[in-house]
Each structure stands twice: as structure tokens, then as C-alpha cells.
């Protein structure tokens, strides 16, 4: 059985992503994949999908073409509307044919994931569906008029649920990093300044790298390193002294010294920052980084808390009724 969604509008940078294109970094191929892995996994696991639409601040409106679809959305604090009715920023619901689901930038956050139960009818490239727009690998960024066919669509849920989890909430805590691998290219003073500075996320930040604005961090050795492999979260300091954090669409190798690396548990939190947001870094040990990873992955395995949007609420009732307040509060209690 097949179903399809029609993209009505898509801002720049809305792409299909699976977990990433692994195993080809040795040939210069960027893994790509989601910017916020925890939000991606929340959405995909909620409906049994292996890929999702990653929505940028540019936003997305889509509709189901011919059948109700199981949909889950998770990410930053985006503004979600189903035919104008407001939904919580993370939820699972049935999308009936013809209804418009609109996801726009909301109060906070930079990325949201929309997963559809089933599989996208898209050919994998080098074994993956992840889009790397810069090198042209994977599906093209989505645009108005695109149709995505869904193979083996999952049955649509009867009731709508809000999804609540600690990793789906705004969090101003510092971003934790481990120093290195080339922290010895910097003087103790430069390292201290890196950790003391409240950095501003620059406008030239995208899926490739997040640019940080603040006082320049001087290299002690005054030269670049011989290029080596670079992981997501590596913070490079080029000759200009302005740090940038390598993100999902990074080049697989880099030639600037890496002063520190963002730990896995905080990559998604960093990804959800917007240009203009202030970011500070906190130094942690390997043991602390692994403990934070274990805690996040354990919580992800349990999954988000599922709260019925309203008792006996179905998407049809949502669309027919005037229940906007109850939807926002995401509780069983009627609210104003």
C-alpha cells in the first residue's frame, strides 16, 4: 500500500534525513544526518520510521494526499498548526487527507523533525537517505509541489498525544565540551578565555558549522595542523581566531586546530540554538561525557512521556471542535 504527502510550502534548508551516511568518510563523504539526534529519534521512534523531514527555521506546510497518516513531530519549540488549530511542539497524531499541517519557527529552537509512519519511497545513495545538499548526495532539499510517497504506511493513531521529554525543552545550561584533540595549540590564557567567553551564535551558521562571535582566540603555534578527521562537535579555531563548531554537514577532514569537542549528549542542545543566542562552554572529563551520554540514551530508549491531548480527542474532533486551549495545555483537564 502507498500513501503520499504533498509539500505546500518549504523554507530553505528543509531536507530528508535518516541517521546518517556512515562508512564513507574515508572517501570524503560527509555523514550528514540529523542536527538534533535526540529529537530525530523521538519523532521516528514514535511512528516507526527510519527517516524524517528535518524542518529549519524556514518552516514547512504539508498535507496528506490520499489517506490518514501517522505523524510525529519533535524538536525545538516550533509553532505547529493543523488547519489553524494549535498543537504542542512535540506530538503524535493522525493527519487526515486534505488538512494542512504547518510547522513554523516558534519561541525557541532551530530544528524540528516530522516523521511519517512507513518508509519514504526514495532511493538510497551510498546506503543512506541523508541529504547532503552541498555535495548533492541524497534527496534534494524539499520545495513546494514535491510529493513524497510513503511505502507501507503505518496505521494512523486514533487519538493525538503530546510528547514530553527533558531533551525537548529549552535549556540554557552551558554546552559541555572535552578539551582537545589540539588544545595544546593554545596558550593557557587562550584556553581560559575560550571557557570564560559568552559566545554569540553568528548569522553564518548552518548545517555545516556553527560560527561563534566573541574575542579572537589566538593560536600559540601560529600555523595550521596537517588535516585530519573531524567528528561532529569539533570546535576549530582558524587563523582569524573566530571559533566554529563542525555540525552534521561538516567536511569529513579539517586543517584547523580543534580546541575542544562538544560531547554527544549536548550536540542536539547546541544545534537548537539560533543566531544571536549566547552560548557558553563548560569543560568536562571523558567520564562525565560518557555518563551524560548513558543518561540521555537510556532516557531515549524509554521514550518521551505521552500525554493525551484531550480525553477521547481524535484528529477529527480536533479539527471539528474548538479545543485550542486544551490542546495547548496538553492535559486531560479542560482549560481556558
Amino acid at each position: 500500500m502507498r500513501a503520499a504527502v504533498l509539500i505546500r510550502t518549504a523554507g530553505p534548508g528543509v531536507t530528508v534525513q535518516d541517521a546518517g551516511r556512515f562508512g564513507y568518510a574515508r572517501f570524503g563523504v560527509t555523514p550528514a544526518g540529523p542536527m538534533d539526534l535526540a529529537a530525530f529519534r523521538t519523532a521516528t521512534c514514535a511512528v516507526g520510521a527510519n527517516a524524517a523531514i528535518e524542518i529549519s527555521l524556514g518552516g514547512l506546510t504539508l498535507e496528506s494526499v490520499n489517506a490518514p497518516l501517522a505523524i510525529a513531530i519533535a524538536g525545538g519549540g516550533f509553532d505547529l498548526r493543523l488547519d489553524g488549530h494549535r498543537l504542542p511542539p512535540a506530538c503524535r497524531l493522525s493527519l487526515p487527507p486534505g488538512a494542512a499541517l504547518t510547522i513554523r519557527a516558534g519561541e525557541w529552537g532551530a530544528w524540528a523533525y516530522l516523521a511519517i509512519g512507513g518508509r519514504f519511497d526514495l532511493p538510497p545513495t551510498l546506503g543512506a537517505l541523508a541529504t547532503h545538499a552541498r555535495s548533492g548526495l541524497g534527496p534534494k532539499p524539499l520545495a513546494a509541489g514535491d510529493r513524497l510517497t510513503i511505502i507501507d504506511p503505518a496505521p494512523a493513531p486514533g487519538a493525538a498525544d503530546a510528547l514530553q521529554a527533558s531533551w525537548l525543552t529549552q535549556d540554557a545550561a552551558p554546552i559541555r565540551v572535552m578539551p582537545g584533540p589540539q588544545d595544546d595549540y593554545f596558550s593557557p590564557e587562550a584556553l581560559a578565555r575560550f571557557f570564560e567567553t559568552p559566545w554569540r551564535l553568528g548569522a553564518r551558521s548552518d548545517r555545516m558549522a556553527y560560527a561563534l562571535e566573541g574575542p579572537p582566540i589566538a593560536q600559540a603555534r601560529g600555523r595550521d595542523i596537517v588535516s585530519d578527521g573531524a567528528a561532529m562537535g569539533a570546535i576549530q579555531i582558524p587563523g582569524s581566531g573566530a571559533p566554529f563548531v563542525l555540525m552534521a554537514d561538516r567536511q569529513p577532514t579539517g586543517g584547523y586546530p580543534k580546541i575542544a569537542t562538544v560531547i554527544g549528549a549536548d550536540l542536539g542542545r547546541l544545534a537548537q540554538k539560533r543566531p544571536g543566542d549566547i552560548i557558553s562552554f563548560q569543560r568536562v572529563t571523558l567520564e562525565e561525557a560518557v555518563a551524560a551520554r548513558r543518561a540521555l540514551f537510556s532516557a531515549l530508549t524509554v521514550g518521551p512521556q505521552q500525554m493525551a491531548l484531550h480525553r477521547d480527542m481524535t484528529t477529527e474532533a480536533l479539527l471539528a471542535g474548538n479545543l485550542v486551549g486544551g490542546v495547548i495545555s496538553a492535559t486531560d483537564e479542560p482549560s481556558r
Binding site: 574515508r26 572517501f27 588535516s227 578527521g229 567528528a231 554527544g264 571523558l286 560518557v290
Partner: protein, 242 residues
């Protein structure tokens, strides 16, 4: 400088950079590739992906499956200290390359900067014996050592436009084959009709790090003929054991 034993540097909690030195050097690179081959042949549980570069191997791992101390031990066990005894499967590729300015967009500019003629630059480049050190930057962008020193020149301060498919480039004392079009600070001094990367062919990538590369100069007529054959799926580069 060569590090023996190699340095183990953390890149976050999921990656370990195993550094064998701090220079572009065939012996250092050979040790990187030997460890890479050993880890691919017999990967420790929890190792996700290895990425060889000039002088380091990036080992990405899942720390919830293997702890760092165990990983360092498993890597150390796989280090071959007698490099001469390491059987590296080096192949030698002969790759057709057209140096005609009609296709080699920057060869006139590069020749002027180097104080060469277009002909002498092409002859020097085609006469080189190259080592494929690593891929980086973009899919199928393969960095080559062994550029004749007369052709060493700094990279551009600001990038040139998008390269043609199959660009052969020089910059910073190295040569480079750029499979897919990308903007770059290097100089396009030739073009190969060979597809060094194709997602529709097996293998997807022809050259492996460590392979030897030689270029065979061809004219524009031959380029056009070979490009047609490559489009039909034929592999043009000749490969033999090095």
C-alpha cells in the same frame, strides 16, 4: 616528526585520533593505513568507523559498548611496529588527464605564477609519481603527494568558482583530483574524463589511500572520446600492482 608510539587524543567521548606524526610523509601515512587495515580486518566491538588522513587515524566508537582503555589496548595490539613487513596492498593507477587550457581552466594563470610555460607545467605534472594520501573536503576529492617541487605554490587567498567534474588541481605543494564540482582555493591544471566517484558503480571509488597515481597526458579529442566511454560505465584508468 614521527610519534612512536602514536599519540591517542580524544575528540569528544566518541572519537579517538591516533596520531603517528605531524607531517605529510609516506612512512607516517603507511602506518596510518596499516592500522586502518588491521581495524577493518578485525574490528573491536563498538568501533563504528575509521577515517585515515595524512598522519592520523580517526577511530569513531560507541563508548557505551567499549571503554576508552579497552579501545586503546585493542588498537595497540594491532599496531605493526615493523613497517617494512607490513604488506600494504598498493596499486598503481594510470589516469588520463587533459592539460589543454580549453579544459584546464587555471593552467595559464598557474604557469605564470610558477614561472613555467603551460607545456612545461603539464610535462612536469604528468611526469610525477604520486601517492594518494587521503580523501577529504568532498566526495571523491583525493589528495596526492609527490608533486614536483617546481610546481609547489600557495593556495589562493579567496576560492575560485566551482571546479569542473574530474578536475586535477595543484596547491600548497600537493596535487588533488576533485571528482565532483566544488569551489576551491586550488588551481585547476588538468581534467580527467575518468569518474573517480560514482554512486551507481561498484566500487563507488576507484582509488584507495596508499595507491600510486600516474597521469597520462591526453588531448581534447581523446578527452571527448574517453568521456563518452566513461559515461557508458567504462573504467578508463589502468590499474596494476605497484
Amino acid at each position: 616528526m614521527r610519534y612512536d608510539p602514536p599519540r591517542f587524543l580524544d575528540q569528544g567521548e566518541t572519537a579517538l585520533s591516533v596520531e603517528f606524526g605531524d607531517t605529510v610523509d609516506p612512512e607516517i601515512n603507511a602506518r596510518v593505513l596499516a592500522l586502518d587495515a588491521a581495524l577493518r580486518h578485525d574490528p573491536p566491538a563498538g568501533v563504528c568507523e575509521t577515517t585515515p588522513s595524512y598522519r592520523a587515524l580517526l577511530v569513531q566508537y560507541e563508548p557505551l559498548e567499549i571503554d576508552r582503555a579497552t579501545l586503546v589496548r585493542d588498537i595497540t595490539m594491532r599496531l605493526t611496529h615493523d613497517d617494512a613487513a607490513t604488506p600494504t596492498e598498493r596499486r598503481c593507477w594510470t589516469i588520463p588527464c587533459c592539460y589543454d587550457p580549453a579544459l584546464a581552466e587555471d593552467i595559464v594563470e598557474a604557469a605564470q605564477t610558477l614561472g613555467q610555460t603551460v607545456e612545461s607545467l603539464a610535462r612536469l605534472h604528468a611526469g610525477g609519481d604520486y601517492r594518494a594520501y587521503m580523501y577529504g573536503f568532498a566526495p571523491g576529492w583525493c589528495y596526492l603527494g609527490g608533486l614536483p617541487t617546481a610546481l609547489a605554490m600557495p593556495r589562493r587567498l579567496t576560492p575560485r568558482g566551482v571546479t569542473p567534474t574530474g578536475a586535477v588541481l595543484i596547491g600548497g605543494g600537493l596535487s588533488l583530483i576533485g571528482a565532483n564540482p566544488m569551489p576551491t582555493g586550488w588551481y585547476v591544471i588538468g581534467r580527467t574524463p575518468e569518474k573517480l566517484f560514482s554512486s551507481r558503480r561498484q566500487p563507488n571509488f576507484l582509488i584507495a589511500p596508499g595507491d600510486r597515481i600516474r597521469f597520462e597526458a591526453i588531448d581534447t579529442t581523446r578527452f571527448a572520446a574517453l568521456e563518452t566511454r566513461a559515461a557508458q560505465g567504462e573504467t578508463l584508468a589502468r590499474c596494476e600492482s605497484a
